[in-house]
Amino acid sequence: MQIKVTINDKLVTWDVEKDEFLADTLRSHGFLSVKKACETSCCGLCTVWVDDKSVLSCSILSLRVHGKKITTIEGVPKEAEEFARILTAEGAEQCGFCSPGFIMNVLAMKNELVNPSENEIIHYLTGNLCRCTGYMGQLRAVKTYLGVVEG
C-alpha cells in the first residue's frame, strides 16, 4: 500500500507493507540514524517525531502515518549538531547507539518545556535507555544545553 508522508520537509510517496513498522520503513529508505534495540516499546532508541511529537517508530504501523509529518535526526542537522557537540564534549555519547533517539527526545523536550527543572528533565528523558553512561553525563550535557543553573 502507498503512503504519502512529509519526511524531513520532503513530501514522498512510499510503498509499505500492511504490517510494516515505521522504524523499518525509515531504515529501508536510508534513514539509518533510526535504531532498534527492543521489541517491547521501552528503550527509546527508535525515537523520531510524528507531527513534532516524540514517538517510538518501532511500534507505529507505517500505514498510520499517512499524511503526517515525520522528522528524524537527519532532518534537524543544525539543532542535532549543536547538542551533539555538547554531549560529545562531555564524552556522554559513549557507544553512540542510543544517541540519535536520545537527541531527538532532548530536542522535543526543548521545544515543549519552558525552563525545566532537573527533575523534569530526568522525567522527560526516562524513556531513553542507555547502558554505557549511567546517565549522569547526559544530564550534564542537557543542563548545559538548556542553560539550567545548578541548585
Partner: protein
C-alpha cells in the same frame, strides 16, 4: 602535557551521536540474505530427526543448515588468546541441544519474513531429557550435560565432564585451618551474586560476504576480531588466511562481545551460498541465546585478630557456566585473583572452586569477570567483620589494604607498583559525609537513611599473555596513521591511543588517522577486554610512537644537515635545536617516501606486560529505606578511583559512571531468571529491568591518581574495576539502615521487607 590528561572529544563522537551509518547493520548491502535460527524449546534433548523439506521448497529460502551439515570438530566461542583455557565443547550445530534457545537449524532467506516462515515449517523430533537447572545440584547429577567423547581442552583446567565440572581451581598459601585457630574473630557468610545480562544497546550482529579473491569477510560487532578469525577457521575448518574480520563502530559490549555468539552462523551461510548474509539478533535472542554473567555461590570465611588485622581468608566458589564452558575457568580463577591481593596482612589464604555445567544459557565474559562476584562476597564479609569487631569498616580497610612497594601472599613476590586506595577511601568518606552519616539515621515518616562502603581492585591486562602491537607510519602527506587491533566499542580507545601518540610525536591529534579492528591491516591485538587496552596497547603505542619519532628526527636531521641530537619536533615540523632551520613533516615525508627517498618511516612495537597492575575503587552508597515497605532508594553513590594517571578525564569519568550504574543495576534491579522448565523468564526490557535514569540517584566520581611505573604515562585500567563496588556497598548500607543483610542479589524491596519481618 598537551594531549594526555586532556578531556578530548572522541574522534568518532559526532558521527555516532548524530546517527551516521557506521555500525554493522548500516554497512550491510540491502540484498544480503537474512539469517535466522531455529532454537530448542527444551532445556536438554537429543534431536532424533529434522525434516526441512517443507521449508526448503519455499520461494526465497536459500539455505537451511542442520547438525548434519556442519564440520565435526569442537571449538570454543570464548574470545581468548590461543591456547584458550576454555573447553572445546561446541559444534556449530549439535545433535544434542543443551538449553532452551540452543541452536537447532540455520535458515537463510531473501528477507526476514520468509526466513521466519521457513523456521515454522521445519519439523524437529526431540528426545527430551532431564535437564540440570539448579547449579548447586549439578555436581554428581544423574544428567551429564556434556557426555560427548570428542570434548577436549588445550590443557588441564580441571574439567571432569562426567561430574558436570567444566573447571576446578585451587590456590592456597599458608595453612588456613591453623591460622583460623589463632584468630580472635572468625566470620562467615554465603553469598549469591546472580546472573546479569550485558544488555548493550546494539544487539549482536554480523554481516558476511566473499571478497574478490573468494575470502570470507566478516563485519561484526565484536570486541575480538582476531579471536573471531581463529574461531571461524577452526569451526568452519578453513584456513585463517581465508578469513578477514572487521569491526566497525560498536554499540556497546561490556564483555558480551568477547564471545563469538553470532559470527559462525552467518559465516557458514555465506560459505555455503557464496552470498552476502546478515544476522541480527533481536532483544529476546540477545537476552536468552548469548551469554550472561556467571551466577555464583561463594562461601567466605575471614579470620582476624582483635585489632582488626585480617589474618586468614578462605573462599569456596561454585560458578554456573551454563550449557557451554566459555570463560568458565578464567572467571572462576579471577574471583580470588582480583580480591585476595586487596589485603596483605594475611598469613594464610585459600580459594577453591568449581565451575559447573547446567542446562541454561552459557555464562561468559562480563565486565568485572569474577572480580565482581568475589568483591561482593569478600567485601560483604569484611563489613561483617568490622561490625563484629566494633570497628569502623573504613578503618578496617585502611589497616589491611596492601600498600605501594608491598607484596601479597598470592602474588609470588611481585611488588605492588602503585596504589592510592588509602587516599580513595579517605576522599570517599569525605564526599559521602561518612562521619555524620555512618551508620544510619531516622529521617521520619518511617524512613531511614544509611551509608555503606566497599573497596575493589581489578587488573590491567593479562600478565604474560595479553599482548598488543601498534604500527604508526608517516604518510606521504606528512600525516601519520596509527594501526591497531584494539577495539573501540564506545569506550574511546581510538581516541586514547591517538592522544598518547600525539603526545609522544608532539603533533596535533588531527594529524593522526586511526585504522583499527581489521585483521587484514591491523597488527595483532587480542581485542579490548581484560581491562587491557589503555595499559597494554597504550604502552605499545608509546613505544611505536617513540620509534617513529626517532626516525623522523633522524631523517629531519639529515635534511637539515645537523646531527639527530640537534633536531627536535616543532609542531608539524622538525627543526634544529638552535631554531635556525626547519623542515615541515609534509616536505620531509615527500622527500623520504616518494621518489629518491624510498623509505617509509614506520614505528612499530609489540608490548606485553609481566605484571597486571591493579586499579582500585572505594565505593560509598547512601540509601533511604522505607521501613514499612522495604523499598530501597539509592540517594547518592560516590566512587573514588585510582586508575593511575587519568589519560582523558571525561572519558574516564564516563567509564566510571557507566560502570557504577551497571553495578547499581546488579545490586538493585537486574536478575536473569528461568522458569521451572529452564526457559528464560527475563528476555525483554520489560522483564529484565536495566536501570533507567530515575533508578540511579546521584553518582559522583572522583579520581585519586597514582603513578603506575609500568603503565603508559603512569596509567592503569579503568573499564572493569568500576563495576564491582555497588553490590557490597549498597548491601552494607541497607544493612546499616534496617539490619537486614541481603546475600542473594539483587536487593529487592520484598527481600528487605521479609528480612525486617523476621527480625
Amino acid at each position: 602535557m598537551k594531549s594526555v590528561g586532556q578531556s578530548i572529544r572522541k574522534i568518532d563522537g559526532m558521527a555516532i551521536a548524530t546517527g551516521k551509518p557506521v555500525y554493522t547493520q548500516d554497512l550491510a548491502t540491502p540484498n544480503a540474505l537474512v539469517v535466522k535460527i531455529l532454537r530448542s524449546p527444551h532445556a536438554f534433548a537429543k534431536i532424533n530427526s529434522i525434516d526441512i523439506s517443507r521449508a526448503e521448497k519455499m520461494e526465497g529460502v536459500e539455505c537451511i543448515i542442520t547438525f548434519k551439515d556442519v564440520p565435526a570438530g569442537r571449538f570454543t566461542l570464548a574470545g581468548q588468546s590461543y591456547p584458550e583455557p576454555s573447553p572445546y565443547d561446541r559444534l556449530i550445530l549439535d545433535e544434542m541441544v543443551r538449553y532452551v534457545g540452543d541452536e537447532v537449524a540455520i535458515v537463510a532467506a531473501v528477507d526476514e519474513k520468509t526466513a521466519f516462515q521457513a523456521l515454522k515449517r521445519i519439523k524437529v523430533d526431540y528426545e527430551v531429557l532431564e535437564p540440570v537447572l539448579d547449579f548447586e545440584q549439578a555436581v554428581g547429577h544423574s544428567t551429564v550435560v556434556h557426555p560427548e567423547e570428542d570434548l577436549s581442552c588445550n590443557f588441564d583446567i580441571g574439567l571432569q565432564k562426567e561430574k558436570n565440572v567444566a573447571s576446578s581451581f585451587t590456590e592456597e598459601v599458608g595453612d588456613v585451618e591453623e591460622e583460623f585457630k589463632r584468630c580472635d574473630v572468625v566470620v562467615e557468610g554465603v553469598y549469591y551474586p546472580q546472573a546479569q545480562s550485558h544488555a548493550m544497546m546494539e544487539t549482536y550482529r554480523a554481516y558476511t560476504y566473499l571478497d574478490h579473491t573468494g575470502r570470507l569477510v566478516v563485519v561484526s560487532s565484536t570486541q575480538i576480531p582476531f579471536h573471531i578469525r581463529r574461531q571461524l577457521a577452526r569451526a568452519l575448518q578453513i584456513p585463517a588466511s581465508k578469513i578477514r574480520v572487521m569491526k566497525p563502530r560498536i554499540g556497546g559490549g561490556f564483555g558480551g562481545k568477547q564471545t563469538g555468539s553470532v559470527e559462525v552462523f552467518t559465516a557458514i551461510v555465506t560459505l555455503k551460498t557464496g552470498k552476502p548474509a546478515i544476522i541480527t539478533y533481536d532483544r529476546k535472542e540477545t537476552f536468552s541465546c548469548t551469554t550472561s554473567r556467571h551466577a555464583m555461590r561463594l562461601k567466605v570465611k575471614l579470620g582476624a585478630d582483635r585489632e582488626g588485622l585480617i589474618r586468614a581468608i578462605d573462599m569456596e566458589v561454585l560458578s554456573d557456566t551454563g550449557a557451554y564452558g566459555e570463560h568458565a575457568a578464567t572467571v572462576l580463577s579471577c574471583v580470588g585473583h582480583y580480591t585476595l591481593p586487596l589485603y596483605n596482612k594475611t598469613r594464610a589464604v585459600r580459594i577453591t572452586g568449581n565451575a559447573v555445567y547446567t542446562n541454561k544459557m552459557p555464562a561468559g565474559a562480563f565486565r568485572g569477570y569474577g572480580a565482581t562476584q568475589g568483591t561482593f562476597a569478600l567485601e560483604s564479609t569484611v563489613n561483617s567483620l568490622a561490625e563484629q569487631l566494633g570497628l569502623d569498616p573504613t578503618e578496617v580497610r585502611l589497616k589491611n589494604i596492601s600498600k605501594e612497594g608491598e607484596t601479597f601472599l598470592t602474588g609470588q613476590g611481585v611488588l605492588l607498583g602503585s596504589t592510592s586506595l588509602d587516599r580513595c577511601i579517605r576522599k570517599g568518606k569525605e564526599l559521602i559525609g561518612w562521619q555524620d552519616k555512618f551508620p544510619s539515621r531516622e529521617i521520619g515518616q518511617n524512613k531511614v537513611r544509611a551509608v555503606g562502603m566497599a573497596v575493589t581492585m581489578q587488573g590491567s591486562g593479562i600478565a604474560n599473555i595479553g599482548t598488543a602491537s601498534i604500527e604508526i607510519r608517516l604518510n606521504d602527506d606528512g600525516n601519520v596513521t596509527l594501526l591497531t587491533g584494539a577495539t573501540d566499542m564506545g569506550t574511546g580507545c581510538d581516541t586514547i591511543l591517538s592522544q598518547m601518540a600525539a603526545e609522544i610525536l608532539e603533533i596535533p591529534m588531527e594529524n593522526i588517522i586511526v585504522s583499527a579492528g581489521d585483521t587484514d591491516t591491523s597488527p595483532f591485538d587480542p581485542g579490548s577486554y581484560a581491562s587491557s587496552t589503555t595499559y597494554v596497547a597504550g604502552t605499545a603505542t608509546i613505544k611505536a610512537a617513540t620509534e617513529l619519532k626517532k626516525k623522523i628526527l633522524e631523517q629531519g636531521a639529515k635534511f637539515l644537515g645537523v646531527s639527530p641530537e640537534d633536531a627536535e619536533m616543532n609542531g608539524l615540523a622538525v627543526r634544529s635545536v638552535s631554531g635556525e632551520q626547519e623542515i615541515g613533516l609534509a616536505k620531509l615525508a615527500e622527500l623520504t617516501i616518494l621518489g629518491a627517498g624510498k623509505l617509509q618511516l614506520v614505528g612499530y612495537a609489540t608490548h606485553g606486560s609481566e605484571v597486571s597492575p591493579p586499579p582500585y575503587v572505594a565505593g560509598f552508597a547512601e540509601v533511604e529505606v522505607d521501613q514499612e515497605t522495604g523499598k530501597v532508594e539509592l540517594i547518592d553513590y560516590v566512587a573514588v578511583v585510582d586508575c593511575g594517571t587519568v589519560i582523558n578525564p571525561n572519558l574516564a569519568r564516563m567509564q566510571a559512571e557507566g560502570g557504577i550504574a551497571q553495578g547499581i543495576g546488579m545490586a538493585l534491579y537486574e536478575e536473569v531468571r528461568y522458569d521451572e522448565l529452564g526457559k528464560m523468564a527475563t528476555n525483554s526490557f520489560m522483564q529484565y529491568k536495566i536501570p533507567c535514569r530515575k533508578d540511579i540517584g546521584k553518582v559522583r566520581i572522583a579520581f585519586e591518581e597514582s603513578f603506575e611505573p609500568t603503565g603508559p604515562f603512569g596509567a592503569k585500567s579503568i573499564g572493569e574495576v568500576v563495576a564491582n563496588t555497588p553490590s557490597p556497598a549498597i548491601v552494607h548500607a541497607v544493612y546499616n539502615a534496617v539490619g537486614v543483610k541481603i546475600n542473594h542479589l539483587p536487593i529487592t524491596s520484598e527481600k528487605v521487607f521479609l528480612g525486617m519481618q523476621k527480625s
